[in-house]
């Protein structure tokens, strides 16, 4: 049927395709037109990508906050976590003139131009989870400080092994900047406050499940007196927990670190792991939404020392480089892990 008769059929084609397309577009009319104009408390959340349980949780926190202060909440995002896919949504926010855009950046630099254009259009920019360069946003809501992360993990392992004995660290890649910063801070913390704990080894699982699994096995063999493992990476802690849960060291060697509830639920429930740390993404989204509101209302400008109220989380102060720190890492254990799904 490749030879459509253009002449006799074209009018029908025009009417048919037009009506089809208009119906297709018409269906989204039901969602209603968005109100616009700067100054109102409309907050758009733009996570790295949609369908990611971590951001589903953080955006739920943001939605809760926006509903509390009576603003308008919207969540948009690409289906892949790339900076170029985020740009059209940033552009759209600029066109809509939303009050504030709360974004988790897929690249610290690539989305800067788009954010600056939105800023020129009167949109307040808040980054959370992943920051951009400091001059591309008004405020960065940081989930945790390196010191906080290091201290929380040392405290957890010290508590679990009775503050004395041999421990080891299972890290990601040997040249991972954040991992090495945390390990260094943990060593300092151990030396200063836990003299009876001895860090005997640091191994690298390269954030690969199998490598981390094998390294855990090797650690237990080469250090028979090992009492605890700290893994400050979500891949590492899950692999180590999987190894421990089927080995004879289960329950004898403590394991903690940074993990996500969905990965760790099984091991917390079967007793391999008693507690691990991470931040609470819901609180992160909640705080980011209140920071956005404070910017929209003009209560703060993102300067150091500005303070604002964040609903049930209390008062926060803006620190260096326009950063707001969520607080100490959140500890997940058997009692609260059922409340989280990310």
């Amino acid at each position: 049927m490749k030879f459509i008769n253009r002449r006799t059929a074209a009018l029908t084609a025009l009417a048919l395709t037009a009506s089809l397309a208009l119906t297709a577009c018409g269906s989204d009319d039901e969602s209603g037109s968005n109100g616009n104009g700067g100054g109102d408390a409309s907050v758009t959340f733009l996570p790295k990508n949609l369908g990611n349980p971590y951001f589903d949780t953080s955006d739920a926190g943001g939605k809760k906050a926006v509903e509390e202060f009576g603003g308008k909440f919207e969540e948009v995002g690409p289906d892949t976590a790339t900076p170029d896919a985020q740009v059209p949504f940033i552009n759209t926010a600029a066109q809509q003139g939303v009050g504030a855009l709360v974004v988790s950046a897929n690249d610290p630099k690539a989305i800067c131009d788009a954010l600056n254009e939105a800023s020129d259009a009167g949109v307040k920019i808040v980054t959370f989870d992943s920051d951009t360069e400091a001059d591309c946003r008004d405020i960065y809501v940081n989930q945790a400080s390196s010191e906080g992360i290091a201290k929380a993990q040392v405290d957890l392992i010290a508590e679990q092994i009775g503050d004395s004995g041999e421990i080891a660290i299972l890290s990601a890649a040997a040249n991972a900047t954040n991992q090495n910063a945390w390990i260094e801070l943990m060593e300092k913390e151990l030396a200063a406050n836990h003299p009876n704990i001895k860090l005997v080894d640091t191994v690298y699982g390269d954030d690969d499940d199998q490598t981390s699994f094998d390294k855990t096995a090797a650690l237990l063999q080469s250090h028979p007196n090992l009492k605890g493992i700290v893994s400050p990476t979500t891949v590492g802690i899950a692999a180590a927990a999987r190894y421990l849960s089927t080995s004879k060291s289960k329950g004898k060697v403590a394991l903690t670190g940074l993990g996500t509830p969905n990965q760790m639920r099984e091991y917390v429930e079967n007793g391999t792991v008693t507690a691990f740390a991470l931040w609470n993404p819901e609180d992160l989204g909640y705080l980011a939404a209140f920071a956005a509101k404070a910017l929209i209302d003009g209560d703060i400008e993102g300067k150091k020392g500005d303070t604002f109220e964040a609903g049930e989380l209390g008062e926060y102060t803006v620190g260096d480089n326009g950063e707001v720190l969520l607080g100490d890492p959140f500890v997940f254990n058997a009692d609260n892990i059922g409340d989280f799904d990310f």
Partner: protein, 364 residues
């Protein structure tokens, strides 16, 4: 012995379908014009019904967003008219993006030099496709699925999961600059219009272009009619590679980000736009003004739906449905008009058309 005279046995003058109706009917009542009317209708509807669509930023961002599609759709149109397809274009965009990133930041080259090298590499990638299709005689679908993976693999292999994001501001700004300050027309439209003019002349006003249509209708017949089928195809794939690489340079500068996974999946958007614009996937039919309208239609719908807060998935569903309906409507209307014609004019012309249709379909 009289010289043989060709006369139709029934004594009627031969009527060509193509000239059976006045020129204005032939120009206006086409699929291309239907798509153009649809773009205008959707645009007008969005202006009235979608909040903020009338914002001065809308058109500007719309052009920036669809520019790579507009560029790549030009050579893609010609390739599809010959009955072939090129699925590797988005991978060439990614590869060119990575090359620009590496050459500018690690190689220390200036942006124009890096861009020229990237475009040359793109042309080579395209020529490789063209060689395998035209001279080795492999089906373009298979060849370009292979090179889709190959070129993307090289792009990701060069940069891994990292990104190059530090480009000279002069060039990133230029990619977003407006032609006239205050007007919504970005600079990228200038190279596009130049290329559009070139491709319109090539396809619609040159012997090469007539050869392109002939190949799509029946490449064996085209060969006998004196069209160099293989060379034509080689050139088309080469052009597709070069233009895709140019789109990759623009993509990199606009987003200020060179990554191996840039423009992932864009080949399908380009092909959707071309088909939506009235080009037959079986080859032999289509025109560039319809394709430009097809790209703009996708751009306007995406822009309007994003403003309504719809997710990418919903936008993809709408465009997918539109594409399927446009293909179905072609076939449906072809069938309807065949019925109408066989009733009004007798069966003869439509049978002959149906036969030629079948034969070239199987060829393609």
């Amino acid at each position: 012995m009289s010289t043989p005279v060709l006369t139709r046995p029934d004594g009627q003058a031969r009527t060509y379908d193509a000239y059976a109706q006045p020129w204005w009917k032939r120009t206006l009542l086409t699929r291309e014009m239907a798509i153009i009317a649809l773009v205008v209708a959707v645009y007008a509807w969005s202006m009235g019904n979608v909040a903020n669509f009338d914002s001065p930023l809308t058109l500007y961002y719309l052009f920036l967003d669809v520019a790579p599609l507009l560029l790549i759709a030009l050579p893609m149109t010609l390739i599809i008219i010959t009955g072939e397809i090129d699925l590797s274009v988005a991978s060439v965009v990614g590869l060119s993006s990575v090359l620009v990133g590496v050459l500018v930041q690690d190689g220390g080259l200036s942006v124009p030099v890096a861009a020229l090298i990237a475009i040359a590499v793109g042309a080579v990638c395209g020529a490789f496709n063209g060689f395998l299709v035209a001279y080795v005689g492999l089906p373009s679908l298979a060849v370009t699925i292979g090179t889709l993976a190959l070129y993307r693999g090289i792009a990701v292999g060069i940069l891994g999961t990292t990104a190059k994001t530090d480009f000279p501001e002069k060039w990133t700004d230029l990619s977003k600059e407006r032609i006239i300050e205050g007007q919504p027309y970005p600079m990228i439209l200038i190279p596009f219009l130049v290329l559009l003019l070139g491709f319109v002349l090539l396809l619609h006003f040159s012997p090469f272009g007539r050869g392109v249509y002939d190949i799509g209708l029946n490449d064996e017949a085209a060969q006998f009619a004196g069209v160099d089928v293989a060379r034509t195809k080689l050139w088309l794939f080469l052009l597709a590679g070069a233009v895709s690489a140019l789109a990759g340079v623009y993509f990199t500068l606009r987003f200020g980000s060179a990554r191996g996974d840039n423009a992932n999946g864009m080949e399908l958007q380009v092909i959707a736009a071309v088909l939506l614009g009235g080009v037959s996937i079986f080859g032999g039919r289509g025109a560039l003004h319809g394709v430009v309208a097809g790209v703009l239609l996708i751009g306007v719908i995406s822009s309007a739906m994003r403003l309504e807060g719809q997710t990418v998935n919903v936008i993809n569903i709408v465009i997918g449905v539109l594409l399927v309906l446009s293909v179905i409507s072609t076939n449906l209307l072809g069938w309807v008009s065949g019925q109408v014609r066989s009733r009004t004019r007798g069966s003869r012309p439509s049978t002959s058309r149906a036969q030629s249709g079948t034969s070239s379909t199987t060829e393609g």
